[in-house]
Each structure stands twice: as C-alpha cells, then as structure tokens.
Amino acid sequence: MTEEQDATPWAGYAPSAAWDEAVDVEGSVREPYSRVYAEIDRMSGDDLYSRAESLASTYLAQGVTFDHAGEERPFPLDIVPRVIGADEWEIIEPGVSQRVKALEAFLADAYGSQHCVTEGIVPRKLIATSQYFYRSVSGVEPANGVRVHVSGIDLVRDQHGIWRVLEDNVRVPSGVSYVLSNRRAMSQMFPEMFGAMGIRPVLEYSRRLRAALAKSAPEGVDDPTIVVLTPGVYNSAYYEHSLLARTMGVELVEGRDLETVNGRVYMRTTAGRRRVDVIYRRVDDEYLDPVVFRPDSALGAPGLINAARLGNVTIANAVGNGVADDKLMYTYMPELIRYYLNEEPILPNVDTWRLEEPDAREEVLDRLDELVVKPVDGAGGKGVTIGPDASAEELDRVRAQILRDPRGWIAQPVVQLSTVPTLTEDGLEPRHVDLRPFAVHDGDDVWVLPGGLTRVALARGQLIVNSSQGGGSKDTWVLGGVRHRASSPPPESRVELSGMSPVPQSAHPEDYVAGQQQQQQQQQQGGASC
C-alpha cells in the first residue's frame, strides 16, 4: 500500500470525556468495532466521503424523508455503523422485554382495579393527574389483553458504559422505518462487512408487527382487515407510515377514509364500504375521535372509541397508554417491575428527582445549573433545559415553571451519553448517541427488534439527539447472528442433490448456429468482389 499512515480516516480521532463505544481510553479499539475499524482504516478519506455522498443520494432517490417545519427533508444517515456486541445485547433484550411486560401490567391495572394504588406502590394522585389518563377508555378491554403492541424504550449508555433507560414510549413510538431503510442502504454500501460479521437481521419487523396486529383482532375474526391510520401526507413521519403499510401489505388510511356505522368501522373503497378490524393508528389520542376527544379534529373518525368499547375494532396501540410513559411515572418503573413481575429490573433508570417532593424540589432548585429539566409529557426533545448550557434567564424561567407546576417537570443529572465515531466535515469525530430498540408484543411474547434506531447528535457536544433538533441516525448492528454457511459440498454430491436434469435455455434458431450461414454470406460477398 502506498498510502501513508496519517491518511487513514481515523487519524485525529480522540474520544471526549464520555464513554466511547469504539475506542477505549487507552486508544485501543474495542472488540465489537474491530472489523469496522479495520475496514474504514483501509479506505482513504475521500473514499469514505464519496460513500457517504452516495448514501445520501440513494436516500433522496428513495424519498426517505421526514417533514421538518413543513419542509420535506432527507433523513441524515451516518456512514459509520454503530455496533453492539452479542454480550451487550444479552442485557438489552431481556431488559427491554421485562420493561414492556411491566408497562403492560401497569396499564391493565391503571385502567382496571388499580391494585398498584391500593397497595401503595403508586400514589393515586399521580395517575389521576396524568394528562394522558383517560377515564373515557376505562372499561375498553383489548381483545388479547395487549395495549402496548409496539413500544420504543429509549436507552442511553452513561460514562461508565452502563445501559440505562432514559424514557419509555408506549403511545406511538416512531423511527422504525429508518431502521429498515438504514439497513437496506448500509448493506449495499458495505457488502464485505455484512458477509463477515454475522449481523442480526431486522427485516422481519413488518412480518412480526403484522402477526401481532392480526392476533389482536376482535374475537371471532379469522382473517382480520388491518389498516395503518396516518394523519396524512404532511405528518413528519408519513414516510414511516407508508413504509409500514407497504411492507405489511395493508391499507394506509386517513381519518376521512374511515366511517363508523352502528359501532362498526368501515373504510370507503371504490367497491363500497369495507369492514376494518384492526387499526394500527399513528394518530395521537387527542385527535383520534372527535366524539370523545378534541371535537375539532379532522384526523380521526367519529365513533372509533365507541366501536373499540363494543369490541368491534382493535386500536393499536391502545388509547390512554400515555399514563405509562409519563416521565414522572417513569421514576416508579423499577418498583412497578418488582411489584408486577417479581423480578429485579435488568436495566436501571437514570436518577430522577420528583419535583413534587419538597426535599427533592429544594435540592433541584439549588443545583439547577448542573441538572437537566424535562417536561413530563414532552417528546422530540421539546422543552428540555440542560443546566450547564442554559443562560441565567432560562434558568429563572425554569425555576418559575417548576414552582408553578411541580407535577409537570422532572430533573435528572446530566448524563454524558456515550459517543460513536461519526463522519463530520472535519473527518471522524465522536458524537453522542442514544438507542431506541423497538419491541412488538403479540400477547404471548415480547419480541425485541435486534438493533433499533440509533440517533446521533450531529453537532459537537450536543446531547439532544432528536431528529427534530437536527439529529441524524446510524445503522445499528447487533452481532452474534447465527450463521448457516456450510462448507461447500464435494462436486459429485451437488449433482445428486439437485436430482434433476436442467432445462436448456433456448434461443432464436438462427442466432447461435448462424456461423455457417454467415460464412456463406461473407464468402459470397468475397466471391463477388473477386
């Protein structure tokens, strides 16, 4: 190789204070990343950039976009994958699955007899004051007992490399389409590594989701009609809605395509009305049914909740799940896991102060400049204030907000999210990431998609990774996929194995035997000229 040592893209890569997933403090490469490191090491910087460019252009061509502030933008995908070793996945997978089971049990309890309140695990006030606790859906029994069909449990890795749960999403978690399309794009970009590393596949997600939705159909429906309900083409996650509908092979409907008649839900088709059994809805609770929620909503269909209550349609995820992913409820999750499942939590929480408790509130108000304050119902990084980065004015405003509405906020220490090498304008640099593994609950099992969405903050030192805050994503590779690559069998057995004689591929009769004729024609020409 003529390439000089300092020409590798890794030159100048230096981890910051946070846990770096690729390189340890001594600068040696961690085991899961060894192959990726070596592969990139062999490339020149230009090669890496040109691959990144072609990655971006395939995304544009495929229309992998999200809508930000009314504009359709390509979703940034970083060229360096994030690798998770098989041993780490053995913690994450059962941890996520345990969490989902506890959330499921809690929701059934909260909308049922509320044992967790009578046993003193959770204060009644906490459930009653949650903005997303809807009395209007208590008594709506899901067909196979599942309320959390799809969930996204956000995980982070702290400065010691320990995986922690940052928040639970059991309403309408989004992002799984990017996992699927990231994988497709990356496998075309790095076929060599995919062959060698044994990366677990993600493509079965759609099949799993469809199966789980089918199992949740109302009783007595053998071959349910499933639909995906989208708010419409201007929604930021429209790409995802259409990808899921397409890969599951079901209709993508908008609210105006649905109508409810006599407690049954139908969609309007060119062949008249067609009964709908399962709605995988990507519309928020408040917009789902103008009869029960916001009367001005045009995104849902009037009468949906009533149809669900009558057991004529399944709404997935169930309405009212927001009470479980309230960030204040999050602080009770470890206790709820012990209470419902009789197990120790596998994945710890991030330490959190409940601001309704006077002592905690006092401490937080004292140390506001070193803590992170979040609204309990926020999503997409909205309303988050990071103490060390905030101005005095902002801190004052937060202080006032907390005093006014202590139920509405929580405080956490600043977690130095782990970093992963990311291609920036100045070459490879560490950038903070989180991970959202997706789990599908079909009533019997919780299946965790091996991988999940890794979101990366593209600006240096930025700790908020949400795409609505200018974040990008990475393909997430979970190692340890079982590989069936038998050594090549001896040639004679191959012939026997096929056990049939091949059918010859035919052609136009004059094309491949025309040698003679051509010769004759040429000769004749030659003869004429002689």
Binding site: V233, R246, V253, T269
Partner: protein
C-alpha cells in the same frame, strides 16, 4: 381499493401522460415557429395557449408559451407542474405503487430542477418523454392488473385521447398554416406505424383517419376511448350500482362512435369543433368517474354545536 388512493392513481396516470403529450405538442409548435416563414408568432402562440386552456395576458411570446406550458411550477398545464403533481400523488399512494415506479417519479421531480428556462427546450422535451416512458414501462412491469393498475390506465387513456385531440387542434391555429400531417404523425410517434399500415404516402384524410380511429395503434383517439370504456367495465366487475360509471362509458362511447361513423371529410371540415367534442366527452367522463368512485357517498363531519 381506497377511494382516496384510487383518485391519486387516476391522476398519476393523467399527469404523466399530460406531461408527455405537452412535450410532444410544444416540440411541434416550436418547430413550426422556426420553419414557417409567414408565421404571426403572437397569435400562433396565443391560440396554442387557448388550445391548452391557458389564460394569456398581453403578447404571447415564445417565452410565454415555454413558461406556461413547460416550466411553471404549481400549474396543471405545464410539464413541470404536472410532473411534480404526479410525484405528490405518488407519495400519497406510496404504499400501493411499486418502489420502482415511486423512485422514477421521485427522481423525475428532483431532476426537474436541472432544466432551467435557458437550456435548449428540445432536449428537455426528449427527456420528459423518456421519463414518461420509464414510468410507464416500470409500472407495466411491476403492477398487478388489479384496480390499482386499472385506475392508472383509466387516467392515462382518458388523458391521451384528450391530448391527441388538442394536438390535432393545432392543425388550425391562428396566424400560421400549422404543422403538416407528417409532422403530426411524427409527434405522435405514429409515422412509421402509419407507413406500415397504410402503405402509402401521407395524405390528409388517411393521416387524420389513422390518428382518429385506427383500432390498433395505441395513440389514436378511438383506441384510447375504447380502452377507457373497457377498463371501466373491468373496474365495475359484477357490481350492483352501475348507473354513474355506465354514464361515463356512454359519454366515451358516443364520442368514439361519432368519430368512427362520420365521414372523415366531415370531421376535417370542422376539426376544431369535433376535437372539442372529444375533450368535452373526456371531461364529462372524468367528472362522472370522480362522482362514482372517488367521492364518499356522504361525508360525516362532527359538528361541535350539535353537542
């Protein structure tokens, strides 16, 4: 098939076909302007815009024509506008159309930006026709012949009949002798097929006959009207309520038989009027199809006051 999706597919068919034919028509027109020494450009341009039902203000220059029919965004008569609209409809029906078709429409929309007003229009027209061919080729190779295909084909045949009628109207533009029949045949990619079918030099009546009523050539008006009728029958299947789609078929059938059973000389004598009849029939059919398949029987809106 969802009514909303069917409507999007119908319009993808119409828009792509419209872009294709507008490109053909503009190509011919610009050539006529170059080749006709006695041409009165402003009135030729104005009457072309009238054929395309585009409003004209002031003098219509070549630039006006190109802007209004080729490059303007957000317009249902310009190539750029219709290609962009086709892509938006494809996005709405993304889960029904195949990935290949989606990507070709998406790429077309993105590449539109490369074609600025200044670049040579002929190359742009060639590119537009190529893109349309790619879309049709991919969709015919990747779409099941179910309702998704039917609605797209329905839109395409209606639009093609309509646009060929408009193209033939340019034969009698104000201020110019208009394109000759050979040019018209060429612009419909029909010249070679004509020569093989008719085996004679191009005469006005034979050429007109070929573009109006040839039963085998896919760019004759009657062929497309007939195709639309057939598709409507297929969509309807064995279904009950046939009244409205029956009326759509009726409108198309009447226009087709009028062309087929009238002496070609009569049609040529009143070419503009006859071609407008064809366009009117297509518009009527399009409205009836919308009423029958795309509009919900009754829209339920939740009225706050009623609470």
């Amino acid at each position: 098939m969802l009514s909303r999706i069917a409507e999007s597919l119908f319009w993808i068919g119409r828009y792509v076909e419209r872009a294709d034919n507008t490109a053909r028509l503009l190509d011919v027109h610009l050539n006529v302007l170059l080749e006709d020494p006695w041409v009165d450009e402003p009135s030729a341009n104005a009457s072309l815009l009238a054929v395309m039902s585009c409003p004209v203000e002031g003098t219509a220059t070549r630039g006006t024509v190109l802007r209004q029919l080729a490059f303007e965004d957000d317009s249902a008569t310009s190539i750029a506008g219709t290609l962009a609209a086709a892509r938006e409809n494809a996005r709405r029906a993304r889960e029904v159309i195949s990935t290949e078709v989606w990507e070709s429409l998406n790429m077309t929309r993105m590449d539109l930006r490369r074609w600025t007003r200044a670049s040579r229009p002929h190359e742009y027209f060639v590119w537009v026709r190529e893109r349309a061919a790619v879309v049709w080729g991919l969709s015919s190779a990747t779409t099941s012949r179910d309702d998704a295909w039917h609605f797209m084909e329905l839109g395409r045949s209606l639009e093609r009949a309509d646009m060929i009628a408009r193209l033939l109207m340019t034969r009698q533009l104000e201020g110019t002798t208009g394109p000759n029949w050979t040019t018209l045949l060429r612009s419909c990619s029909a010249h070679e097929a004509y020569l093989r079918t008719v085996r004679a030099l191009v005469t006005e009546e034979r050429a007109a006959e070929f573009l109006l009523i040839d039963r085998l050539f896919p760019r004759s008006i009657a062929y497309n009207l007939d195709r639309a009728e057939t598709i409507l029958t297929q969509i309807d299947g064995s279904e009950g309520n046939r009244a409205l789609s029956g009326r759509a078929r009726l409108a198309l059938g009447r226009a087709r038989t009028n062309l087929e059973y009238s002496p070609v000389r009569d049609i040529l004598d009143d070419l503009t009027g006859q071609m407008q009849e064809v366009q009117r029939a297509c518009a009527t059919a399009s409205d009836l199809i919308r009423d029958r398949y795309f509009l919900p029987a009754a829209t339920v809106t939740w009225n706050q006051e009623a609470l």
